[in-house]
Each structure stands twice: as C-alpha cells, then as structure tokens.
Amino acid sequence: MSCVLEIKNLNAGYGEIQILWDVSIKTCSGLCAIIGSNGAGKTTLLRAITGIIPTMSGSIIFDGKDITKLPAHIRAQMGVIMVPEGRLLFGEMSVLENLQMGAYLKRAKDKYKQNLDFVFSLFPKLSERINQKAQSLSGGEQQMVAIARGLMADPKILIFDEPSLGLSPKLTIEVFSIIKNLKEKGIAMLLVEQNVHLSLSIADNAYVLSEGKLVLSGSGGDLLENPQVKEAFLGL
C-alpha cells in the first residue's frame, strides 16, 4: 500500500536547539493521531512536516516524493495543508477573503465553488458571516474559519494542530464529527489533539510522542487500551 506521508528518522528544532529526535512516522490512509503531553514536540513535528522550520536530518516523503528540502509554499502546492495551532487567520480580512486565501493555489482555485459549497454545508454559520472581519469573530467561529480555510486548499493531506483548543465541549464534539465526516470522504489526515480519548477513538493509527521521541505506536484502538496511555493521558 502506498503511503501518503512517511517520515524517516527526523531530527529538527529551532536554531541550535534540537527538539525532535529520530522520529519516524507513516500515514498510509485515513486518520493518524499524534498524542503527547505539553511541550512534547507535536507542533514542532507538524512545523517540520509543513516546512515552517527546516529539518536537521532525516527525510520527509510525501506522495512518493522527497519534500525534505522544499520550501513551505511548494509543499502547500503539492497538497500538504495545515490548520495551525492558534488558527493564524488573516485577522484584518473578512471571512470570505480568508477562505479565498485558502484557495490561493491554482489547484484549489479550480475547485473554489465546489469547495466553498462544501465548507458552508459543514459550517452553515459561516455563510452568514462572510463579510465580518476574522479578528472580530468569537474563538469558536475563528476555529471554524481556520478549518474551512484548510478545506478550501483542497488538501491531499490535512494536518490539524489542536483543532478543539479553546472550544466548548459541544463545539469540540462538532469538530470531531466533522473530522470523522472528512475521514469518510477519504481525505488523509494527521491529527494532534489534547483530547486523547476522542482522537484515539477515531484514529486508524496513532503515535505517542514524549520529550521529542516516539515512545509508542499502534492502532487507535490498541493505544486506547494501552496501560501506559491510560495512565499518562486518560487519567485512568
């Protein structure tokens, strides 16, 4: 089976400070979850995958191509799209402009109309607020725009960094049901979440990151039953 994303012995960090040590990950299809406590290096790993920070050594293979040395915007062009931690919206732009920026790439522009209909069907609330400035939205609404913008980019792999951060329990459930829905549509995804129980229960495979190293991996169900995971993350 061909894998969408394969990371081999990745070492990365910020300047001289190494954060990730020899991390290897494979996502072949469906949803892959990465869990780990605060500061474990999850966001750093996603930044290395998307090209926001350079890698020190190791390789990142996407769709059979080595993207380790490619700049972030080229990776986006290839279909590696992230809904980043903290949303990173274009604050002074309207909701609609944010969605248009999501579809900035040629590939995504061609499917603009179709994808716009799709995101409005997922988030009907957004269609009522298309002219509002992104920075004036509530936190939950901003998260919806961030997810919608990611979908507008027509991703080949969609990477989520803590999509439920700061959301109410009700909205969290809503976001998870959307992720499940996307999974059924066949979009490959990489998910980093604080909500370990929810994410493991929808993940096909999962990895546990601790202090920048991979410590466990397995299917979502296996990890959910794993005593170490239970103790460290599920408070059982």
């Binding site: 090209g51 926001i52 700049p71 915007h73 986006a76 990173l88 274009f90 920026m101 900035y104 790439l105």
Partner: protein, 284 residues
C-alpha cells in the same frame, strides 16, 4: 483671506504628493516591519531620474514617471535581495543599519555624479486663476497623478490576487506560507512597490520645487511624520497624514520662514508619539 484659500488648495495638492512617498514607506513597514531608512535616497533617485529624463531625453517630466516607476520597482527588488533578505529575521536594529548603509551608498554615489548643486525642472505650464487666487497647473497635475496612484494602489491591494497575497503576508506570514504564498517573492515585490512610490513621489516633487541630491532626507522626514501622524500600517492614514502635513506647511509658511518647517515637523513627530503613538487611523 485669498492667501489662505490659495494655501489650502496648494497644501492639499502637495500633501497628496507627500502621501505617495509615505504610502511607500507605510507599505514596506506594514508588510515586513522594516523602517526603510533608504527611502529618502530613493526619493532623490526619482528626482534625478526625472531631471535627467527632461534634460537629456527631452521628454516631459510626466512621461518620465512611467519608466521611473518601473525602474524603482526593479531597483527596489534588487535592493531587497542585496540588503534586506538575509537580515529580515535579525533584530530590528540590523534592518535599520542595513537600509541606512544602503542610503549612504546611494547618496554617496549620487553626490559623486551630480554634486550637491541645486537643480530644478521647469514645466512651463503657467497657472490657473480661481477668483483672485492662482494655482500652478503643475501643482494640479501633481495632485491628480498622486490621487490616481493612491487609488491604483488601493485597487491593487484589495482586488488583485498578488495584492491580496501582500496583505496576507503582512497579516500573518506563517499562514501565508502554509497556504502556498511565496513570501520571499511577495516581500521583495512589496519593497519594490514601496521604492517605486518613493521614486515617483520624488519625481513629482522635483517638478514643483528645486532640489539637490540631499533633498531626499527632507522628504523622508516628512514621510515619517505622515506615517506616524496617520498611523503606521494604515494606508488611509498615510493619505490623511499627507493632507494634514501639506496643509500645515502651506498655511504656516504664510506666517513664518520655510526654514522652520523641519523643526515643526520634528515637533509634530514627538508630540504624536507622546499623545497618540498609534496615529490617527492606526491599528492598535
């Protein structure tokens, strides 16, 4: 009374030309958070480019604006890669020093070739009489061209794909990268546009007043005052600031020697920074 009417009209027209230089400075600040200390050198570049076009090629100063804009754009992009690209992520002082050294080099070269003798461009256009006050045609043309440039910049930034990419990079460079925007390219083009605006405003000002290779500094100071007055990062603020400065300058010159203007401008700068550091229309 008539003198005042005349000063108001003149002030608005020249204020628009100042606003063009300030818009360039503002764009560069807004997109890459760099204070371009070479802005004055590029204003002087525009002045002398216009002067040479009129003197050597015999074209009208207004025709020369188009090649000057294009030259400014290209020179700006090259200058970005030479002096800014590698230090963009360094502490702010580094970009100040690097644009300042660029300015020293350009002004040094300019002094070598042109000396510091004053020059002037005569447009031979005469003036129009409105009631009892008279306004020179060249001022009216400068005002209209400036207005056109400001409007075009607005349409470019808000209606075109590249313009939207520039705004996206200024609002969130990381997100811009994540969604496929080549931020390095966008930054270089923005710097190019900023320099092109400086050059064109220099050419416009040169069509009205005498100048030397060192005059750029005077107008660079005006650009700073305008940006701080209107609000750094706010394009509408730059226009408003330009109008206020143009008006003030022309009205005050009725009561005091023009030599006092830099003093007044510095005072405005300091006062605004003290009481309203974000300017009139600035973002918080």
């Amino acid at each position: 009374m008539l003198a005042y009417v005349n000063a108001v009209i003149s002030g608005i027209l020249i204020g628009l030309a100042y606003a063009i230089a300030a818009l360039g400075l503002n764009l560069i600040w807004g997109v890459m958070k760099v204070i371009n200390l070479s802005h004055g050198a590029f204003i002087a570049f525009g002045m002398f480019a216009a002067y040479m076009s009129v003197k050597l090629l015999g074209v009208s100063v207004y025709t020369s604006l188009i090649p000057i804009f294009v030259a400014g754009l290209i020179v700006g992009i090259v200058a970005f890669f030479v002096s800014l690209y590698r230090v963009l992520n360094a502490p702010e002082l580094t970009t100040l020093l690097s644009t300042y050294s660029l300015s020293l080099i350009l002004i040094g070269l300019g002094t070598f070739f042109f000396t510091t003798n004053p020059r002037a461009i005569d447009t031979h256009l005469g003036s129009i009489t409105l009631g009892y006050s008279s306004i020179s045609y060249s001022r009216i043309i400068v005002g209209l061209i400036s207005l056109f440039l400001a409007g075009t910049l607005y349409l470019f930034l808000f209606k075109t794909s590249l313009g939207k990419a520039i705004r996206a990079v200024s609002q969130n460079p990381t997100a811009a990268k994540l969604y496929g925007i080549n931020t390095t390219l966008v930054l270089s083009i923005s710097f190019g546009i900023g320099v092109a605006f400086a050059s064109v405003s220099g050419a416009l000002i040169a069509s009205l007043f005498p100048f030397t290779i060192l005059s750029g500094g005077v107008y660079e100071l005006k650009s700073f005052v305008i940006c701080v007055l209107g609000g750094l990062g706010s394009p509408a603020g730059a226009i408003l600031g330009g109008l206020i400065l143009g008006l003030l300058e022309n009205l005050l010159s009725l009561k005091m020697p023009v030599d006092y203007m830099p003093f007044i401008e510095f005072s405005i700068l300091v006062i605004i920074l003290l009481i309203k550091p974000n300017g009139i229309l600035g973002r918080r």
